[in-house]
């Protein structure tokens, strides 16, 4: 057995040593620690502020064994030859917000045509934006796109050097302060599911080959934590976990809204989930983000989660019918 199991997760801008979601619950409740204490294995969390690239590099040099991050990150690293396998695909409620200054004449999505827009290329917002525009028969060249990180984009917006920003819920802060307004977002029941971001949990192949049973045990804990946090009874707890990472309560509440927890945090390897991975891979190929095709089926290792779910007696279902996305629409169990 290894001495330590290293888990790589996305850090938060507030420099808090916590994560939200399932891992947050596992971390708080000490689930991993309890599970592995008897084997003398420690568990270490690595919170990467550099997100995707940093996590991929950590996987590549063996700093972390497991990682959870956005779908695109996994796709590009797999295409780049990183030896990892996907254990599970995670929830799909990373929303994209298109914001403009509060006093801007831009009112609706189509007003954006020909405008200067800031967009962080190669992130889920890029993916999301591309789907949105292609569904509307537009092309990237219909806009003047500036590649800026989400936060630099907001600064540029405040400074008036771009007209709009394709961003995350972080923009809501400035919306609340009355400086910006949202002209379009991927929230709401009538938005296609695939506009939203999702993620994946991966394991290094080395580790997997050496300790397949550990992989399963880790995944089982993740699944257990997931069951807890997708239970609507624990909605307050989910919010509290997010707030623990430093996100102001107001923002946390706004971002979660009335989305169903199952949809936000679900964990799956079902057909739909894999289809989404394929879509992402195709997108990446189309936009020259990856140089060769990846074989999704060879990449995903569904057996672990399937077994875990069987042992836990839970049904694998992540992509819910649109009617189940929001708790107002449907009573969720």
């Amino acid at each position: 057995y290894p001495k330590v199991i290293n888990i790589g997760l996305g850090g938060n801008p507030y420099n808090k040593p916590f994560v939200s979601g399932g891992f947050g619950y596992a971390q708080e409740a000490g689930l991993f620690e309890k599970e592995f204490a008897k084997d003398g294995i420690k568990v270490a969390y690595h919170l990467f502020k550099g997100f995707g690239p940093a996590t991929n590099e950590a996987l590549a040099n063996g700093t972390v064994d497991f990682a959870a991050y956005g779908d695109l990150c996994g796709v590009v690293s797999r295409a780049g030859g990183l030896k990892i396998h996907v254990l599970a695909v995670t929830g799909g409620a990373g929303d994209t917000y298109i914001v403009v200054p509060a006093n801007s004449p831009i009112k609706k999505f189509y007003d954006l045509k020909g405008k200067k827009i800031s967009l962080a290329k190669g992130t889920y917002m890029d993916l999301s934006f591309n789907k949105i525009i292609s569904d509307r028969g537009l092309k990237e060249s219909d806009f003047k796109i500036y590649n800026l990180t989400a936060i630099d984009g907001l600064t540029a917006l405040a400074g008036g050097s771009v007209d709009a920003q394709i961003g995350t819920y972080a923009a809501l802060d400035l919306v609340n302060r009355g400086q910006l307004k949202v002209i379009y977002s991927t929230t709401g029941p009538d938005v296609p599911d695939n506009y939203r971001a999702f993620g994946e949990i991966v394991v290094r192949e080395d580790f997997e080959n050496k300790y397949p049973e550990l992989v399963k045990r880790v995944l089982k804990i993740i699944a257990r934590a997931n069951i807890y946090i997708t239970d609507e009874k624990n909605r307050e707890k989910v919010l509290a976990l997010t707030e623990k990472t430093g996100v102001p309560p107001e923002l946390a509440g706004q971002e979660l809204g009335d989305k169903s927890l199952r949809w936000v945090n679900g964990l799956s390897v079902d057909k739909d989930a894999i289809t989404r991975l394929k879509e992402t891979a195709e997108f990446a190929k189309r936009h020259n983000m990856i140089r060769k095709d990846i074989d999704i089926n060879d990449w995903v290792r569904p057996q672990y989660l399937t077994e875990v779910y069987k042992e836990l007696g839970v049904q694998d279902k992540w992509v819910l019918p649109a009617s189940a996305h929001y708790i107002k629409n449907t009573k969720h169990k």
Partner: protein, 256 residues
């Protein structure tokens, strides 16, 4: 003798390259962290043949050169002024020192706010970063001009400008050149930072993008391009330096 001169500069790089290739071949350096030289060479060749290197390099060079020229001239000028005018020194130097201590990265919001996200901001970013080494080397170079030579200029009632031209500048020149080299090095490091300011072109952008896309062979291929340009610029500077420092005579220099 001659042979040795040609051979020596290649010794270390070739050695490093051999270690690198060996490390890659045996898997000590995972390909996903440090692609093997052969792979990188291949990628580099494709990138050059495909024309992307040239076009992006041209863009980056333009930004770098403009930014560098501004930063270096400002640093040079301010270095001179603060070193020669005690009042200005007392007035500005503490601020220059203090501002220098704030990471470039923290200035990005202000730069975006004030200069936007077009070429201007990238150039400003590079200018600020290249300003500091120049200002401090110029300042220190001038502060260590031997007094005996300044006295000669005083005796001939040289105006400050004449003294500068004939005594201070030539004497501080080696130090100024060191500052220039440092600034050039800085500019290449900064270009990656600059080109995440709203750019989708340029070698720096490509580097950051390739890293994000986990194409490390490309990252290294661009690194080689940047390194090569750096070496070329550096040897140009060395050439100019040699010419202008002919007066140092054959006996000079630290070699023992």
């Amino acid at each position: 003798m001659k042979l040795k001169n040609i051979f020596l500069p290649w010794l270390l790089p070739v050695f490093l390259l051999a270690v690198w290739q060996a490390g890659s071949a045996t898997g000590i350096f995972p390909e996903t962290i440090l692609p093997s030289p052969v792979v990188i060479a291949q990628t580099l060749w494709e990138a050059i043949a495909g024309g992307e290197v040239i076009s992006n390099l041209a863009i980056t060079l333009r930004r770098t050169i403009i930014g560098l020229s501004i930063g270096v001239s400002a640093g040079f000028l301010l270095g001179i002024l603060t070193a020669t005018m005690p009042l200005l020194d007392a007035l500005l130097s503490p601020s220059i020192i203090a501002f220098r201590q704030v990471p470039m990265f923290a200035w990005i919001p202000m730069i975006i706010l004030v200069f936007g996200i077009e070429e201007g901001s990238k150039i400003v970013f590079i200018s600020i970063g290249t300003f500091y080494p120049m200002v401090i080397n110029t300042y220190d170079g001038i502060k260590t001009v031997p007094k005996k030579y300044l006295e000669v200029a005083r005796v001939y009632e040289y105006t400050p400008i004449q003294t500068f031209q004939k005594v201070i500048f030539p004497s501080a020149f080696p130090s100024i050149i060191t500052g220039l080299r440092f600034s050039i090095g800085m500019s290449w490091m900064l270009v990656v930072g600059a080109e995440i300011l709203g750019a989708a072109t340029g070698i720096g952008f490509l580097m950051a993008w390739s890293r994000q896309m986990f194409q490390l062979d490309r990252v290294f291929a661009y690194v080689i391009v940047v390194g090569a340009i750096g070496i070329i610029i550096n040897s140009l500077v060395t050439g100019v330096e040699k010419k202008l420092l002919a007066w140092r005579g054959s006996g000079d220099g630290g070699s023992i």
